[in-house]
Amino acid sequence: MEPTSVQPSTPYRKLPGRLRGIGYGSSVWMAPDHLLLVSSRMFREEYKRFYLRDIQAIVMAQRPRFPISTRSLAIAFAWLFPWVFWILLPAGFGFVWWAVAAVLTGSWLVFSFFFSCTCRLYTAVSNDPLPSLYRTWTARKFLDEVKPWIDDAQGSLDANWAEAVESREAGPAAAAPPTAPAAARPALRSHTTACLVLVVSLLAEAALGLLTLHYVSTASGWIFTCLSLVQISSAILILIERQRRILRAAMQRVAIASLVVQGLVYYVATTTAAFAPSGRFAGPSVFSRVMFPQSVLLREIAAGIYIVLALIGLTIILRPAAARPPDIIEN
């Protein structure tokens, strides 16, 4: 339970740059005496403060980076949207559609290759990346905005500071002892019952999907629905367990992927059926629409994805503890 009393509020001002992905994000904020690095993962925000008097250096290095931000996903979705009305669009629209895709992809690749960077902030005891600064123009704007504030707090350096820097190392000393005992945190579990249920339901849905590709009865339709519900419930349970710091991050990714695939398959099947001529999938059961030819292809694809996800899940569950890398989010 978190305290309900809020500490004395600090006025924070947003600094240039923001990284926003699906389920994660990062930004840097300015307070009168410190910079606040905000890293968000799903429904939790983590904060790190860098006091202006302690900042030794901020270094930006140019390098190719290919972040998939929510903005680029929104643009991709906007590009994909006319596909829903494909039948209603004029014949020449296809060329324009693909040309727009080429321009968008090309510009994203150019920005990612030639105008991207990585930024790090050094103090005497830390050396932290600033993930929100991944484009060079944003990083320059950030540096121009922050430098006067740090100069105010520390004063400015001589012009020939580089001569003296050889004798000092920015960032934490190599032999510095760890600040907190790592063993104090309880070890996270690699899997729980919910993980097993998710993997089994994924495998069962894939197997049933492949076995009933060309014939769907009411009974198998209901089994599909039940398996989907089990899958969604176990995925939500995994997200909750991860949020409560019981589970490691790996299974959470499988759970998110299975939820996304479930949603996509459901809505694509519904959309395909809605645009099909009436009567083409009229059959003996309420699940006859999944027998529509495109739906059979969709079910094959979905079964393939479910098998891949289940195999990834099984690998995570069966992998010995020593072989697993440390959880970056947790540690």
Partner: protein
Amino acid sequence: MPLLCARCQMPLPRWELASSEGARCTSCWSLNTVRAFPALFRQAAAPARPAVALDGEAACYDHAGKRAVAACNQCGRFVCELCKVEFGGQLWCPSCVAAGSGAARAAHPDASRVLYDSIALALPTLSLICFWPITTLTAPGTLVFTPVKWKQPLSLVRRSRWRFVVAMAIALVELIAWLWLLVYWAQRLRSGH
């Protein structure tokens, strides 16, 4: 050792740092833009060394062999030079500061927070996107969750509670839609269709 390249963490050569066009890393060949500050040349203060407690002298609560120099203003335990924490004009022991007792709670800066407003917004929207039938559970769930968590502290940097309001609105719309569907089905059943 000098400043490190932000990409490969290898040292940047001095002659490159002196260049006005940025420092080229000799290892990964990245062009580094460096903003250095006087803290880079500040020497860290040497840690205080607690004195050894002699026979008959009061010893630190946590370090039995070290001489006590003060008593914690909160719990009264003896603390050595290493353990004493100056806090609000008083001396505290590390346990009291760590426990966040009394005024220490207010001074303890948040390291993380749960975004309850985002959870509230995700409940009705994600369930609608992923699998709409479960909105029968998530919509009423949101209507209960939102008032319960309304007073919880939000993000340190954003203050508005608009996500809670939007979540309630979406949940209400979903609930009304379900009620309308139920009434519609009931009427159809009654009329014999």
